[in-house]
Symmetry: D2
Subunit: 344 residues, 4 copies
């Protein structure tokens, strides 16, 4: 692991940060990453103090965060697994220091800064930084990632929904006027590491519930990258009693009758050469367990006999392809490496 | 428990049968029920041999099944927790012997016998018996239950979907032409007690998947009792990693904008005086855990700001209100008792 | 439910309190209980505001706590599901007001007040109150419960361990000098309703761990009621990824070889006439699922071929027989009712 | 992945086989392995047909099993994830064909062939093969693995128990005459992939139970490799509602009082230079989640104030360090590679 590329990770104390550490610690093209803690009173010297399960994987040294420290370390890039409000400030500073940035927060995901402010109730992001942000969905925007200085890593739900809908939207096959319904279900790690009543074991186990109806912050990402009109679109989220994974069931009416082969071919053609998307063979459907702890997004579908009612099932790991894994996939694209490097 | 009404239970070896036993053993108006086993080689004398968890609840004697034995026992009614094909034969015989019957199978659920044959790939039910069958959804058809000799207990998914949609369908508020989507999720006890690869612990735990898309047998029950056209309707089922419970997320577009108060009032008015349906207060949504191991169906909703996109959430216990509990509720109606007797 | 006995419940905001409400709301000999909240700023008028799952079960009115209010309500008894430190104060006051008390906390469980102070790091309980406290294990001390004014409801772990060991300890069959090992496992509801890192869903699901080794507060209850010497005894607790239930695996060496029949007979004789303890038939062992959401304690065992190595398995629901159910069983004994009233 | 070592895998249709495939497919020193199916009627050409979750990881070609086919393939070694009875036959044939063998079954684990026959109710293994078998616990027997032609991969439970007890047994610190108790708990994948009543989701979820008391086949492995006398030893196994992992709680009385530092030092010294065993810092204990899906065995302990009562907690992944991971670790030792190669 000598002579690898140097990277910095800011904010590795949550679940996405943990997953990022797990991936980066064994990425073949990288030096061991350094972890920067924003809490200046922290006495943590090593990430294994926070995550004992990482013992034996590498040193994972932790240092107090400063832009200057990162710059001097020789890091080429910084991953930010920080809260939205923190990223708002850190991203411009890190760009100014000459670093490339992959930001896992929502701060730089929207073309229009007002969208962010409206849905997140936070100040608008720096427009200079935003101007060069690339929405980090490599299957759609890989060509822009190669030279990107700032990548806004997508939300977990939007990744599953956009990848599931985009091929047919681009093909113009969807009768969008009849409405598109996205019924999404996520495991509890998506709700973060902070203990809350809603994610207390006894409240989640043996339970299942919908939440955030018509108010979920991931809504505008989906409409922006599918082109669906908000009024023709319903997006709901549910909490599954599992640790990891998102499964989105997507309902569309087709403009004209299609065959199963046509649908399958459309998906296969769209994702040809994309190693992290796996299309299920007709007749089988993806399962959460098959993508948990991976960076794959699995997509399958069922078509009714009339050929006009279509259900697409898209699933991924919310911390993997939905967060940390995708961040590394984006970074691989930024560096010109095979996009699956360190992810299989 | 003396001087109570006598009932027989046929086929109490599965999960719905177990739940039925659990309820009937402490029903205040009943004698201890007798359990009839269809396997003539069975050496089981007592249901606690099959379900040790019932020890201490009552004797629960098991006897070999025969219509004659049930008739002579003085039972007024028989509950059938038998496979569809068994109910096809047993129901006419039990009716002929003068018994009232609550059948938990799908055999007598459809007005048109061809519907059953088509979806279940089994012979059509006896038309004489079918002619007097009442679809046992007490919130909709209580008036017909009082005198019914045969009650076809609804499927678990349809109960949740029909109760969630019917008030607005009857009100004529739904823009059905845009399509109605029913995304349903069930716990694993709905798949029965027979070990299968699909319900093996390691395959279900930490997992979530869709199944039976466009082919689920419960589809025609829903269209029949909501009046929705099959081509404007999508109904999917998913397997949750929980033991019990169904949560259905129902998506409708409204013909004209409505307020939250209007929606809530419509539901409350429709289910006024119905103790087993609980309407959530506006702003809150039902959860699976609140109905597990009960006979309640909880219904809530979320309306978007435009007042035209509506998501209804309906949930119940698949073995309770979705099977055994509803069977007892039906029987209570048949006997003229308060419908919640023995169910709270 | 008119003309029943009136009772008060203090502190019904946690899981044991919820379970107590659930049981008391349908206890056949009681009026609907009144719930007293210690938080004087509470705006809760009805327990269903805290526990929506109780809607439809009864009114469950909540009032601000005061000894005077309880006294004037006509209540004969008060159940305290309060923290240890609260019970220390409330118990003497309620006794002085003429009420009988069932206290679910640990405050009055130990004959020697110093034991409480040492293990709970709290002031010693009132010695006057303590002098009349009865340790509420009805299978052992029913005769003292009939006239008791104060019942100290046992801990959940001790109930399972003491019931599992006491028959053979009393028989003098155990070679205690070789040591007795109690390996106990509990579901997460035993850790309370307050969100904590240790009971966050993601930290419990798919996980299993030991905790509180040699320091668990339930240790002295076990030694006090089994008579085992602390130095010959090891008691450990583990957190299971389930909501409810405790299973204790108890290891003893016998002084002389015994047969399976002898062991089974000893248990059956000891618990003859005790409806809430169920002895497994030789060759079968109890399971957590069989006691979850019940007030039963199930006990089984395995004996090696030599007849000298014995493993006893004892299980119960930590909120049922381990807390709220046992409190009601105790109250039934205090009132001279059948001890299983309202519990089956 | 060219120019790597060639290996064959026989019997990759179960969970241990799947895990073996997952590890071998990304082992840096190996060519892509070939999978041999014993069912000669199988139409499976690729392991991804059985395990869709492996798509994208490699080709994983499947071929009909024959010793000749394996020999001709150029494979240097074969991994057997076959049933005990199959390994009895296959191992001698593969050795005769000049292959080195890692056998995951129990067939060649015992020095005395009668031990195998007695506990497994199967014919004794070939004595010639047995004579050269090495019990594959690299932390204990690495020196013998380098030249081994046949490695008998240990059972999952014994790996956790032996690694937890051996340092103190060798040190002579245990008062074995007072008895050693091993209370072990395993996730459901240890029970195999074949659907059974005992591993049906509804029977495992929310449940916990002991099984195989005094009859578990792993018992003699533990006594053989710890030297404990069967009559001074109790070993029990329990089924946890998790997919993966074993946690063993081990109870010993010490001959004389020890300090926590002494205990910790003894463990650290014993496992110095052993990358797959992690000793917990005093005051912390291992958790199942920290070892799930890894090849680590984590060991921690708690000592009472007297310094004589000791509880050791040892945990690992039953399919990782308890089966497939350990098999690869053994193979690494056989090849002279770093033992953690491909396992971190």
């Amino acid at each position: 692991m000598t002579d690898g590329v140097k990277v910095a990770v800011v904010g590795a104390t949550g679940y996405a940060g943990y997953e990022l550490a797990r991936i980066l610690l064994r990425h073949p093209n990288l030096d061991e990453p350094t972890f920067y803690l924003r809490d200046s009173n922290s006495t943590v010297h090593c990430l294994t103090e926070l995550f004992p399960q990482l013992r034996g994987w590498g040193e994972a040294p932790c240092k107090p965060f400063s832009v200057e420290a990162i710059r001097k370390s020789g890091a080429q890039a910084a991953f930010l697994a920080t809260p939205h409000e923190a990223s708002l400030d850190l991203v411009p500073d890190l760009l100014d220091a000459g670093l490339r940035v992959v930001d896992l927060s929502g701060a730089f995901r929207f073309a229009n800064p007002a969208t962010f402010s409206q849905w997140y109730k936070l100040p608008a992001p720096s427009s200079a930084a935003l101007a060069e942000a690339v929405y980090g969905l490599p299957e759609l925007y890989a060509d822009r990632l190669a030279s990107a200085r700032l990548v806004a890593n997508p939300g977990c739900y939007p990744t599953s929904v956009i990848l599931g809908l985009r091929p047919l939207v681009e093909a113009g096959w969807i009768d969008a006027g009849r409405g598109v319904v996205c019924d999404c279900k996520s495991g509890a790690s998506g709700a973060g590491k902070e203990p809350k009543r809603e994610t207390h074991f006894v409240e989640v186990n043996g339970n299942f519930r919908a939440y955030g109806l018509f108010t979920h912050r991931h809504t505008p990402e989906v409409t922006e990258h599918t082109g669906l009109a908000p009024e023709d679109f319903m997006f709901t989220t549910h909490l599954l009693p599992v640790e990891r994974g998102i499964l989105s069931t997507l309902y569309v009416w087709l403009e004209q009758a299609r065959s199963r082969d046509e649908i399958e071919s459309a998906f296969r053609a769209f994702y040809a050469g994309r190693p992290m998307v796996r299309i299920s063979r007709a007749g089988s459907l993806p399962e959460l367990q098959h993508v948990a702890r991976t960076n794959f997004c699995d997509i399958g579908f069922a078509l009714d006999e009339s050929g006009k009612r279509l259900v697409i099932v898209s699933c991924l790991d919310n911390l993997g392809k939905g967060a940390a894994g995708q961040a590394v996939q984006n970074f691989n694209c930024m560096m010109g490496w095979a996009e699956e490097t360190g992810l299989i």
